[in-house]
């Protein structure tokens, strides 16, 4: 251990670490790229669909029906596409925990592989929007932050708030915060319009514009708290609260102190 810590400051360490880092990034990238990029064979595909069917029959069919036909409490899933399944299941919204006014995001029940199988199964019965691949989601390269902000304020801010913090809708429904959401899921939400959200088709907002929106959201997420504590980025309500508690509290406290009799 001691030798390692001495070696830490050696001249060669910095270049060596750089090479190692580059190597690891390169391998990860090529492997990850290969995993999503490589076309899967027909046999693998049918195995995936079968796996998905098994999961569906076990976990979803009691509400959505054995043939995805839906029921009184759940919509039919024919034609919703893999994108919808991926969004609903991978963000933990499905399977639903309680049937209240809105299905909330929670810890996912199924893992990535199972979600993929489910999505493949649902998509195999009727065509619908697909899960956008990694190559389609390169928002850093294909998006523009400023344009995304403009699009966000025009199309999204009315429900999700100016900084994407979420907002209230009628009857206890709400637009959730878009902070901390995977780019893939943001994209899928726009394409499929889950729950109260409208569908933003590629004609309304082109794929490039969608990437711009994602880029702006990610920039807002990473933006440091300029000007001090952000107070939740929800506007003047929290500012008013702070003035009446901390601000006036301090000042009235000082006033009481100033008027105290000297002892």
């Amino acid at each position: 251990m001691k030798r390692l810590s001495q070696f830490r400051r050696h001249r060669i360490v910095a270049p060596l670490l750089l090479v190692l880092a580059l190597l690891s990034i390169g391998t990860t990238f090529s492997m990850a790229g290969a995993a999503t990029g490589a076309p899967i064979t027909a046999a693998e595909r049918s195995a995936l669909i079968e796996e998905g069917e098994r999961i569906f029959l076990k976990g979803c069919s009691s509400c959505h029906g054995i043939n995805l036909e839906g029921s009184a409490i759940a919509p039919a899933l024919l034609g919703v596409g893999a994108a919808s399944v991926d969004f609903q299941v991978a963000t933990g919204r499905m399977p639903v925990a309680d049937m209240s006014v809105q299905i909330a995001r929670k810890k996912p029940v199924y893992n990535e592989k199972q979600v993929e199988a489910l999505a493949a199964y649902v998509a195999s019965l009727a065509p619908g929007p697909e899960v956008p691949g990694e190559s389609h989601l390169n928002y850093e390269r294909d998006g523009s932050t400023a344009e995304g902000g403009e699009l966000f304020r025009t199309n999204c801010a009315m429900c999700h708030n100016f900084a994407g913090q979420g907002g209230a809708l009628s009857q206890g429904k709400y637009a959730p915060t878009v902070m901390g959401v995977l780019p893939r899921h943001i994209y899928e939400a726009m394409v499929t319009g889950p729950q109260s959200m409208p569908v933003f088709s590629d004609k309304t907002i082109t794929p490039e514009e969608k990437l711009s929106i994602i880029k702006w959201i990610k920039a807002a997420e990473a933006e440091p708290q300029l000007g001090g504590a952000s107070l939740g980025r929800v506007g003047p309500v929290t500012e008013g609260l702070l003035v009446w508690t901390l601000g006036l509290g301090l000042l009235v406290g000082v006033a009481v102190w100033l008027a105290m009799k000297a002892r």
Binding site: V101, T145, A146, G149, E150, R153, T154, A157, M158, C159, H160, N161, F162, A163, Q165, G166, G167, A168, L169, S170, Q171, G172, Y174, A175, W216, A219, A220, E223, Q225, L226, G227, G228, A229, S230, L231, R233, V234, G235, P236, V237, T238, E239, G240, L241, L242, V243, W244, L246, G247, L248, L250, L251, V252, V254, A255, V256, L258, A259, M260, K261
Partner: protein, 528 residues
């Protein structure tokens, strides 16, 4: 006499020979002010006004009040290349390019919120202690005027940066102007120099915000303070304090030091807030375009109650003679605030009419000794609070997992039910406190010491309270209600029966109290 004293004397004499200031200074520097923390609340408002003037002047050096379109090319990347008004772009520049600009902006805005809050708590102090009574009715009206101007001035400042939030606010203001029957549309066109948003509005409100209203403020504040000076400050009752004297410390050196120090503390607290807490982050709101809106668009807190009233108004509209009257905006946006503020301004006269009391009052009331007034105040505050809560209904709904509709219905019912309820409860509380005061004077303080009598009975030992305290608890007046006979001496009904009946009833309600302890009561107890 030391050298420095001699020099000071020479200088003072030089000035006095030319201005005659010595006599005036001597009189006014020795002016006595009573000491109480609640008398400093108005000072908070005064000092934040000074901070507003200073920080506001700094902001005018760089703010460009123009709605001319520019392309943003500053250092805030997420807005780079966007079209926006010069007003918005220059506010971004103040925030990101000017050294200390963001801090100054935030100090200015926090100071505005503190200014309004301080005015409200100062108003509450004046109201609940009855400091508005003769001879201070004019000063009360000036105060109400300052509060009203403060709301307008604050709203204009909030509107100037031309960001998405302030544009939304201006849009609502335009809607309220338009809701005026018949003249509304014309007035709106006049104010905006054409259709909304136009290019004229921001430059116009800038002049009003930095020139007209600050001037009005300065004038009104000066008169406000001069009246305080001339009429002398009110004081709380206490030993040695009467309606004809002022007990306290002289202005110099005690209050010079206290007030001067307090100014810097207020500045410090404001600067602290400006340094650690973000306010009005206009770069996040984006530039205003009429096609955009954000969820949770709110006014600053001092307008929140107005927004809350508009939000809870049911959708009422009528069509008469080919004109639409939007009652849903007209009632909550103009009629209700009009009634509230007129009632508030006239209250000193209403109370004096109810009680028939036309005497001067320099000793303050303890709120419990004016149950009706205190209850009315709490009732008004409850009304405002329900409206304010509804103004933030969307933020409350999403923060506490509630339904916005439920909050709205709570507010709609609550704004009618809760204020009267608050009135009754407060009045009962005041009367209970009066009863407690009476018991305290008659039976003394409970010591918590239990003594077993020889025959086995346990009694708690009571200690008589100090004469000062007893005086404080019994010094207040308890005037009987006005006796307004329905018929005059000849058995003929007086004119204005209904008015007299109402006045008699109000006067009776105002005079309700628990009889205070008297010396006779005390003697009687001692006999037992």
């Amino acid at each position: 006499m030391t050298a420095s004293e001699r020099i000071a004397g020479t200088v003072a004499n030089y000035v006095d020979e030319r201005t005659g200031a010595a006599k005036w200074m001597k009189k006014n520097l020795n002016k006595v002010f009573p000491d109480h923390w609640s008398f400093l609340l108005g000072e908070i408002a005064l000092y934040s006004f000074v901070i507003l003037l200073l920080s506001g002047t700094f902001l005018t050096f760089w703010f460009d009040p123009s709605q001319r379109e520019v392309i943003y090319d500053g250092s805030y990347a997420p807005l780079k290349g966007l079209e926006m008004s010069a007003a918005y772009a220059s506010t971004l520049d103040i925030s990101f390019e000017i050294r200390g600009g963001l801090l100054m902006r935030q100090i200015h805005h926090w100071a505005a919120l503190i200014f309004m809050a301080a005015i409200v708590v100062h108003l509450m102090r004046v109201y609940f202690t009855g400091a508005f009574r003769k001879p201070r009715e004019f000063n009360w009206i000036i105060g109400v005027g300052l509060l009203t101007l403060g709301i307008v001035e604050g709203f204009l400042g909030y509107s100037l940066p031309d960001d998405l939030l302030s544009g939304t606010g201006i849009r609502i203001a335009e809607a309220i102007i338009q809701a005026l029957p018949v003249v509304g549309s014309y007035l709106a066109f006049f104010a905006f120099g054409g259709a909304f948003p136009g290019e004229a509005f921001i430059p116009r409100i800038y002049t009003v915000h930095v020139l007209l209203l600050p001037g009005a403020f300065l004038a009104l504040i000066t008169v406000h303070l001069m009246l305080v000076w001339y009429q002398k400050h009110t004081q709380y009752p206490g030993p040695g304090r009467t309606n004809n004297n002022v007990v306290g410390y002289p202005l110099f050196p005690v209050y010079m030091a206290k007030a001067g120090g307090f100014f810097f503390i207020v500045f410090g607290v404001t600067a602290f807030l400006g340094a650690v807490a973000s306010i009005n982050p206009i770069w996040l709101y984006g530039p205003y375009t009429p096609g955009q809106i954000s969820a949770g668009s709110q006014p600053d807190w001092y307008m929140g109650w107005l927004d809350g009233l508009v939000r809870m108004a049911p959708p009422l509209e009528t069509y008469i003679f080919g004109r639409t009257i939007s009652w849903n905006i007209l009632i909550p946006g103009l009629i209700v605030p009009g009634i509230l503020f007129t009632g508030m301004a006239l209250y000193p006269f209403i109370e004096s009419w109810m009680t028939g009391d036309k005497r001067e009052h320099h000793l303050l009331d303890r709120p419990r000794n004016a149950p009706n007034r205190t209850a009315l105040g709490v009732m008004s505050l409850t009304f405002m609070l329900v409206a304010l809560i509804n103004g933030g209904n969307d933020i409350i709904a999403i923060t506490f997992d509630l339904s916005i509709n439920q909050i709205m219905w709570f507010s709609r019912i609550g704004i009618i039910v809760l204020p009267p309820l608050a009135f009754v409860i407060t009045k009962r509380l005041c009367l209970s406190l009066q009863r407690a005061d009476r018991d305290l004077v008659l039976h003394g303080r409970e010591t918590g010491r239990l003594v077993m009598m020889p025959h086995g009975e346990f009694v708690e030992v009571h200690e008589p309270i100090s004469p000062e305290k007893a005086w404080l608890l019994t010094q207040h007046e308890q005037n009987p209600p006005l006796a307004l006979e329905e018929n005059d001496l000849h058995g003929v009904r007086r004119p204005g029966v209904l008015k007299n009946k109402l006045r008699a009833r109000l006067s009776k309600a105002h005079a309700v109290s628990i009889p205070k302890a008297t010396a006779d009561d005390l003697k009687e107890i001692e006999h037992h």
